[in-house]
């Protein structure tokens, strides 16, 4: 019998739990949201509700499965993810949340094009959103596929590819059939479930070891080949000067990229005013701190009770650490519940991502660039749905190619892209008066382009045993994460392009309007 219990039992607990959560979500969404406030839920959520939803957007499969798996496999080096994810909130809180909320309406393009020439900037912002969301979706699809493969105990690569395709199609279908309007409620319910789940597991684990984190870690070292050294930095990184740089690069992408993700940025629009946006970030910080403390316990707990070798050999690889731990301490029932919560997590995040991607294409590219603002709402929504299908299809293909990689690592690539394309541009446009259209286009395309090129020619794609295409070698960039190069490069591009281009004529006082609105919030809804 496989080590992860009976597939039929696993799957039925899982299915019952998914159905219950989806029913709750359906009830909530049909009661609270009307068709007219499709993109931003009518800015009707309170700070606390939105805060929980906001943390729901962050607590993706990557956080739950990937980070606990990263810690279970690499100890200290996995812990870096937890720290980066928490500190990244401060970027959102201090620099982005309120200014963005006060100047935008639905998409990142709204803010970036606010005082610039509309069509090129909107198109650029939408391109960046699509690329970032695509990379983020790949990670979610790979995570979902691995999870179901673990539940059904499917070990062949082809079988897992079919599972990823089926799961991906189910998710896209769910989004298309009207699930999108309930995304915020999906996030709230799922975030609460996930938090309860990880807190319970952590308390149980700590209790088992006499409430001593040191005790858990002590036993963990006995189930890892590296022994004591797994508690020190360098289990995954740090053996050479290149890999040390890679570690720093990853750390930079984490802290700067998370608050630049399009679907997280969009979440700041669902509150009625700037102080609610701030309150929601404060709420999210608390949930975040609790959650990532728990990932530390769960990660080392999985290493202690399941063992690193067994996790690496399971379907889904490192990503299976948390489900395997659940099976170890709570049998098939807890495995089913944890998997269902993880699946609901992925579903909710995919829904949010699809919403961000299709909104940016339909609202920015189709309605504002192609049709120049003359478009019926029904056609815009049809275009949005079509975009969702295309993005979903492409990310299923990507998810199959990336199957078996740690999903937190895959997400870190999306984060590098987000930080490179969005962060520099948003900060410049809010805080630097001289910044102009040329600068905007250079910082978006410079950051996005350099980051994409460096990912394609990195060891992640080719040239190493763990690459997506291990049989060919066209890698010349040594780092697995390009953030260290591409993020400063986008700041530099934006700066130089602005300095060396002509001052733009003032556009109907748009620059003054943006500054006053971003900083004071007055006139933000006129």
């Amino acid at each position: 019998m496989p080590t992860t219990g009976n597939p039929v039992l696993n799957l039925s607990v899982f299915a019952v739990f998914v159905l219950i959560t989806l029913y709750i979500v359906y009830r909530f969404s049909s009661r609270n949201v009307t068709a007219s406030d499709y993109y931003a839920a009518g800015s009707s959520f309170t700070g606390a509700q939105n805060g929980v939803a906001l943390s729901g957007d962050f607590l993706s499969a990557a956080s739950f499965l990937g980070i606990s798996g990263g810690i279970a496999a690499h100890g200290y080096d996995g812990f870096l993810y937890s720290v980066g994810w928490v500190v990244a909130w401060l970027v959102g809180l201090l620099l982005i949340a309120e200014g963005l909320r006060n100047t935008g309406r639905f998409t990142v393009g709204d803010v970036l094009a606010f005082r610039m020439r509309q069509r090129p900037v909107r198109a650029a912002a939408a391109n960046a959103t699509l690329v970032i969301s695509f990379f983020y979706m790949i990670a979610q699809m790979a995570g979902a596929g691995g999870l179901i493969a673990l539940l059904l105990n499917v070990t062949s690569k082809w079988g897992q590819a079919v599972l990823i395709a089926v799961v991906g199609m189910v998710m896209v279908l769910y989004v298309l059939l009207g699930g999108m309007k309930g995304t915020t409620w999906v996030q709230i319910i799922k975030a609460v479930l996930l938090l309860l789940c990880v807190t319970m597991m952590s308390i149980f684990l700590l209790g088992k070891f006499g409430f001593s984190l040191s005790g858990i870690m002590q036993q963990a070292t006995e189930n890892n080949r590296l022994g004591d050294a797994v508690l020190d930095p360098g289990a995954k990184y740090g053996f050479s000067s290149t890999s040390k740089l890679d570690f720093v690069s990853l750390a930079l992408s984490l802290v700067l990229g998370i608050a630049s993700l399009p679907h997280v940025l969009m979440r700041f629009y669902t509150v009625p005013n700037a102080s609610e946006a701030r309150r929601s970030v404060v709420w999210a910080t608390w949930t975040m701190v609790i959650f990532y403390l728990c990932t530390l316990v769960i990660g080392f707990g999985a290493m202690a009770l399941v063992g690193t070798d067994k996790i690496a050999a399971a379907p889904g690889g490192e990503n299976s650490a948390a489900p395997l731990l659940a099976f170890e301490i709570g049998g098939a029932v807890l495995l089913g519940i944890v998997s269902a919560v993880a699946f609901a997590t992925i579903l909710a995040v995919v829904a949010g991502l699809t919403l961000a991607a299709s909104a940016s294409f339909a609202h920015d590219v189709y309605a504002n660039v192609i049709k120049r603002g003359n478009v019926e709402p029904r056609r815009e929504i049809r275009v949005a749905r079509l975009t969702a299908v295309v993005v979903g299809f492409l990310s299923i293909l990507g998810g199959i190619a990336a199957n078996g990689q740690n999903v937190a690592f895959l997400v870190s690539l999306a984060l590098a892209l987000a930080a490179s394309a969005n962060l520099s541009t948003i900060l410049y446009t809010i805080f630097w008066r001289r910044f102009n259209t040329t600068g905007t286009l250079w910082s978006i395309y410079g950051g996005l382009g350099s980051c994409l090129v460096l990912i394609i020619f990195s060891p992640v794609m080719s040239g190493a045993k763990t690459s997506i295409f291990p049989d060919v070698d066209f890698a010349w960039f040594p780092l697995g994460n390009p953030g260290l190069v591409s993020i400063p490069f986008s700041f530099l591009c934006g700066f130089l392009a602005t300095i060396f281009s002509k001052r733009e004529p003032e556009m109907d006082g748009k620059a003054a309007e943006m500054e006053v609105r971003a900083i004071s919030g007055i006139g933000a809804r006129t």
Partner: protein
């Protein structure tokens, strides 16, 4: 919502930075909003009230950003380049690096709560003042 009570000392401080309600006599004061009801943002941008708000905001967020980035990068760089130092065992097998990492959690909470408090006391009243003076609502 209940209205927050201002302590006398704070109130005094706030009023020092207002140009004064006497500006109601000033014909300019009426033109913060044009005849179509659109706010005149260029004019609002020039007011002292707005400048005070902008200064209060930037003097908090930029130094704080520098602070937390420096603290985070210290943790990261020590982990990458001072392996022996962060591997020092402190409590049982828990080493200095893990504690430094957990320290980032603590600083994040402190900065978040600090900003929430600062915004409530120093930014929100000034925003309200600006909104009342210009007649432009949020």
């Amino acid at each position: 919502m209940t209205k927050a009570m201002r302590s006398p000392g704070e109130a005094h401080h706030e009023y020092r930075e207002i140009r004064g309600f006497a500006s109601f006599d000033d014909p300019d004061a009426l033109s913060y909003v044009d005849s179509d009801g659109r706010p005149n943002f260029a004019l609002i941008q020039q007011t002292d009230e707005f400048r005070v708000l902008r200064r209060r905001l930037t003097t908090f967020i930029f130094p704080m950003t520098a602070l937390f980035l420096a603290s985070y990068l210290t943790f990261v760089l020590l982990s990458a380049y001072a392996k022996d130092f962060v591997s020092t065992k402190v409590i049982g097998v828990i080493n200095l690096g893990i504690l430094l990492g957990l320290g980032q959690f603590v600083t994040s909470i402190i900065i978040t709560l600090g900003y929430a408090r600062y915004a409530k006391r120093r930014l929100d009243p000034q925003r309200k003042l600006l909104a009342e003076m210009t007649g432009v609502e949020e």
